[in-house]
C-alpha cells in the first residue's frame, strides 16, 4: 500500500467518524485538508458529496416549469380525499345507523329466509345422492372510452365519450384512434385500423380478442381489478402489470414488451415469458431484442394515457373548421379533430395545429365545469419565406453580428425558451421538418443562448435519424463541436458526427471519429456500441 492510499484510508475513517457525529481534532482536520489538496480522488468524492447535499430547492430531479409543477400538484390533489367527500362519507355512515328495531327485525327475517331458500336445493341434491354445485356468476364490468379521434365505431355505431363498452362489444378503428379503460388500471391505446372484441369483461377476467391492427396496452402492476388476457388467432398473452404492444398484421401476431413482462401461450404448449426490451411472434420459437425504432411513438402514447382519466375526468370536445387539425394538450397529441377526451382536471395548454393554417394556443382551466366544448375556426397562414436548414456558417454570421441569410418567421421576437418549446412540440408531433426549422430559427435568433446549443445537437439528430440528411446533420454537429467543444452535449455531438460519417460512407473518417470518441469518453454508455462498430469497419 502506498503512503497516499494509506492517507486516503485514514481520511475516509475520519470522514466516517465525522459523519457519525464525532468532532475532529484540529490535527485531524488539518490532515484531511492537506490530503484533499494532494489527492484528486478524494477531491472528486468530496466535491460530489458537497453537491449532493440538498439545499432545499434543487436536486437531481428534472426541473418542473410553472405549468408542470401546477399539474404535478393537481394530480396529487386529485388523489387525496377532499373535505367535501369526507363529510359526505360521514353523513352516509350516519344515515346507515338510523334503522329502527323494526327494520332490523325485518332484515333478520329476510336473511333467515334467504339462507333457507338457498340451502334447499343442496339439501334436495344431497338427499338424492347428487353432488351440489355452488356457482355464483361473476359480476359484469363496464369499460369506458377515454379518448376518440376520427372515425371510431363500436358495433357499427360512431363512438363517443361514454359509449358503453361491455362484454361482446366490437370496436373498430376505421379512420382514427381511441383509448379505452377496460377495468381499473387497464388501459388500451388502439391505433388506426385496429379491430377488437371484448370477449369477457367481469370481476374474474378481461379477455380482449384482437382481430387485426396494432395497440398499446398498459396494466398498472398495483391494480386491484381482474387479470388481462389478450388473445388473437395465434394464441394468447397473459399479463399482470406491464406495458406492451400487440400487432396483428397479415395473420401474424407480434408482441413487444416495454415494461415488466408477459407470457405467451399458443396451443397446448407451455407458456413462455417475454421480458422488457424483447419481442416475439406468437406461435414461433424464440425472442429477440427490438431496436429503439418507434420508441418515441410509444412514449407519446404513454404520455397520452397519463393525461386521460375516467375518475372525475373533464369531457373535452374539440372541433375545428376545417377539420383534421392536430389537437395537443400539454404538448401531447390527442388526435385529429374532432377529438373527444376525458382529461384530468387542472390547468392545461391546448394547441390546435394544421399545416397551412394559423396555430391556436389556449390555456384551459379544466375542472370548473364537467364538460368543455371548443370549436376553432382556423385562419389561413400568411406566406413566409423561410430557410430550410441552418448551417454553421449562418450561425457564425449571426454570432458575429452580420445579417443572416435566413428570413425568420414571427418567432423572431420570441424568447429562446418559447422557441425551444415550439420545436419540442413539433418533435412530439413527429413533424421533423418543422422541428428542424424551429430549431434553426432559434439558433439564428439567439445564437449565444444555452438553448441554441441544445438545439444544434437536437437538429443534427433529427436530420440524421428522421430526415436521413447526414450532410446537414454533420454541419449541425460540427457547428456544435467547433463552438462548444467541451459543452455538456459534446459527447452526443461527437457520437452523432461519427454516425453521420457512417451514413455518408466515409469509413476512414468514421473510424477516426470513433477512435477519438473512445479516447475522450472511454466510460460512456455508448462506448460498447462504438467498439462493436470499430470491429465491423
Amino acid at each position: 500500500m502506498t503512503r497516499r492510499e494509506g492517507n486516503c484510508d485514514r481520511v475516509h475513517e475520519l470522514w466516517g467518524a465525522q459523519a457519525s457525529g464525532a468532532v475532529l481534532s484540529e490535527e485531524d482536520r488539518r490532515l484531511v485538508e492537506e490530503h484533499l489538496e494532494q489527492c484528486a480522488d478524494c477531491r472528486v468524492e468530496a466535491g460530489i458529496l458537497e453537491e449532493m447535499a440538498f439545499d432545499g430547492t434543487s436536486g437531481p430531479a428534472p426541473e418542473l416549469d410553472d405549468l408542470s409543477r401546477r399539474r404535478w400538484i393537481d394530480d396529487v390533489m386529485d388523489m387525496v380525499p377532499s373535505q367535501d367527500s369526507r363529510t359526505e362519507k360521514v353523513s352516509q355512515r350516519r344515515t346507515l345507523r338510523i334503522p329502527s328495531y323494526a327494520a332490523a327485525a325485518v332484515i333478520a327475517f329476510l336473511v333467515v329466509s334467504a339462507i333457507l331458500w338457498s340451502a334447499w336445493p343442496s339439501f334436495v341434491a344431497l338427499s338424492s345422492g347428487e353432488e351440489a354445485i355452488d356457482y355464483v356468476a361473476p359480476k359484469k364490468l363496464a369499460g369506458t372510452i377515454l379518448l376518440s379521434s376520427g372515425d371510431v365505431r363500436v358495433g357499427g355505431e360512431v363512438l363517443g365519450l361514454g359509449s358503453p363498452l361491455e362484454q361482446g362489444s366490437r370496436i373498430s378503428m376505421a379512420g382514427g384512434h381511441a383509448v379505452m379503460e377496460l377495468a381499473d388500471g387497464i388501459s388500451v391505446f388502439m391505433d388506426e385500423g385496429a379491430q377488437v372484441e371484448i370477449r369477457e369483461l367481469d370481476q374474474t377476467l378481461v379477455d380482449l380478442f384482437v382481430e387485426s391492427g396494432r395497440m398499446l396496452v398498459q396494466v398498472d402492476p398495483d391494480h386491484d381489478g381482474p387479470p388481462l388476457l389478450v388473445s388473437t388467432g395465434d394464441g394468447s398473452i397473459s399479463v399482470t402489470g406491464t406495458v406492451f404492444s400487440v400487432a396483428v398484421v397479415d395473420g401474424r401476431t407480434g408482441v413487444r414488451v416495454y415494461r415488466g413482462s408477459v407470457k405467451l401461450k399458443n396451443g397446448t404448449g407451455p407458456a413462455r415469458p417475454v421480458r422488457l426490451g424483447e419481442e416475439a411472434v406468437l406461435g414461433r420459437e424464440g425472442v429477440t431484442h427490438f431496436s429503439k425504432d418507434g420508441e418515441s411513438a410509444v412514449s407519446s402514447m404513454l404520455r397520452t394515457l397519463e393525461i386521460l382519466t375516467s375518475r372525475e375526468g373533464i369531457a373535452l370536445e374539440i372541433d375545428s373548421v376545417p377539420v383534421g387539425a392536430a389537437v395537443l394538450v400539454d404538448g401531447v397529441e390527442l388526435g385529429i379533430t374532432p377529438v373527444r377526451a376525458s382529461v384530468r382536471a387542472g390547468y392545461r395548454r391546448l394547441d390546435i395545429k394544421k399545416e397551412g393554417f394559423e396555430s391556436v394556443r389556449e390555456l384551459l382551466e379544466l375542472g370548473v365545469e364537467r364538460k368543455l366544448t371548443r370549436v376553432f375556426e382556423l385562419g389561413d397562414l400568411p406566406r413566409v419565406e423561410v430557410a430550410s436548414s441552418v448551417t454553421s456558417e449562418t450561425v457564425r454570421q449571426k454570432a458575429s453580428g452580420s445579417k443572416s441569410v435566413s428570413t425568420l418567421s414571427s418567432a423572431n421576437s420570441a424568447t429562446p425558451a418559447e422557441m425551444i418549446a415550439r420545436a419540442q412540440v413539433f418533435r412530439m408531433e413527429r413533424n421533423w421538418a418543422a422541428a428542424v426549422k424551429a430549431y434553426g430559427d432559434l439558433i439564428n435568433a439567439h445564437p449565444s443562448s444555452a438553448q441554441a446549443r441544445a438545439a444544434l445537437v437536437s437538429m443534427g439528430n433529427i436530420q440524421l435519424e428522421n430526415l436521413k440528411k447526414p450532410r446537414a446533420a454533420m454541419r449541425a454537429f460540427n457547428a456544435y463541436l467547433a463552438r462548444f467543444g467541451k459543452g455538456t452535449l459534446a459527447r452526443e455531438a461527437s457520437f452523432g458526427r461519427a454516425n453521420a460519417l457512417r451514413a455518408l460512407g466515409k469509413s476512414s473518417q468514421e473510424r477516426a471519429a470513433l477512435e477519438a470518441f473512445l479516447r475522450d469518453y472511454p466510460d460512456s454508455i455508448l462506448a460498447q456500441r462504438v467498439k462493436t462498430r470499430l470491429g465491423e469497419i
Binding site: F54, P60, A61, V76, S524
Partner: protein, 207 residues
C-alpha cells in the same frame, strides 16, 4: 480548493415555525385543499429528489414521489410538531418509497433526463442543468446499492440527518446505520474513482 467542504459536515436545513406547521397540517388533515396544496408545494422538491435517489434513478421515481406526498397528506393529522415538518415528511417519504421499491422489484431502466433547456437563458441555466445531470448520474450509481443502503446514504449525505435520527426513522439501530453508511460510501467511492464524467465535471467546477 475544497478545504472547508468535508462530507457529513453540512447539515443545514431550515427549521420552520413548528407551531404554524401543526396548525397547517391540522387543516390539511381536515381536508382543506388550500392547506394541502401549500404543503405539497413546500415539500415537492425535497420529496422528488429523495425519491430519485432512493429509486436509483429509476423512471418510476416520480410515481413514488407522488405516492409519498399522498401518504404525507393522509398522515397530516398525526403531525405533532415534535420535529420539523421536513424531517417528519422525510420519514414518510423514505418508508413509502422503500415499500414501493420492494413491491415492484424493478431494476432501473430509464433515467429521466431533461434533454433541453427550458429555464432562463443565462449561463446559470446551463450550470444548473449540468449540476442536475451530474446528480442524476450519482442517483444512477445509487441504483447499484441495496435499497436499505440507498436509504441511509440519501438521508445522511443528501439531507444531513444524524445517525441516531436515521436509525429512528428507519426503525433500526445506530450500528446498522453506520454499517450501511460505510458499505455505501465504499461502493460509491469506487464508482466515482472510475467515472470520468463526474470527475471532469467536478474538475471543471473547481478550476
Amino acid at each position: 480548493m475544497i478545504l472547508h467542504m468535508i462530507p457529513g459536515e453540512k447539515a443545514s436545513f431550515r427549521s420552520a415555525d413548528k407551531e404554524a406547521d401543526v396548525g397547517m397540517m391540522s387543516l390539511a388533515a381536515s381536508g382543506y385543499k388550500s392547506a394541502q396544496r401549500q404543503i405539497v408545494d413546500r415539500l415537492l422538491n425535497r420529496v422528488r429528489s429523495t425519491a430519485l435517489y432512493l429509486a436509483g434513478g429509476h423512471h418510476d421515481a416520480e410515481d413514488y414521489a407522488q405516492m409519498a406526498i399522498i401518504e404525507i397528506l393522509k398522515s397530516a393529522g398525526s403531525y405533532r410538531g415534535e420535529s420539523t415538518l421536513e424531517s417528519w415528511a422525510q420519514k414518510i417519504t423514505v418508508r413509502t418509497v422503500m415499500r414501493q421499491i420492494k413491491k415492484r422489484r424493478w431494476r432501473g431502466q430509464f433515467m429521466v433526463v431533461s434533454e433541453e433547456y427550458e429555464g432562463t437563458t443565462d449561463d446559470s441555466a446551463e450550470m444548473e442543468l449540468s449540476r442536475r445531470r451530474a446528480l442524476q448520474r450519482v442517483a444512477l450509481l445509487f441504483g447499484d446499492l441495496k435499497p436499505g443502503v440507498r436509504a441511509v446514504m440519501t438521508m445522511k449525505l443528501v439531507h444531513g440527518y444524524s445517525i441516531s435520527e436515521i436509525a429512528q426513522m428507519l426503525d433500526t439501530n445506530e450500528h446498522n446505520v453506520r454499517y450501511r453508511l460505510r458499505v455505501g460510501r465504499q461502493k460509491l467511492r469506487r464508482r466515482l474513482k472510475n467515472d470520468p464524467v463526474l470527475r471532469e465535471w467536478i474538475g471543471e467546477e473547481r478550476q
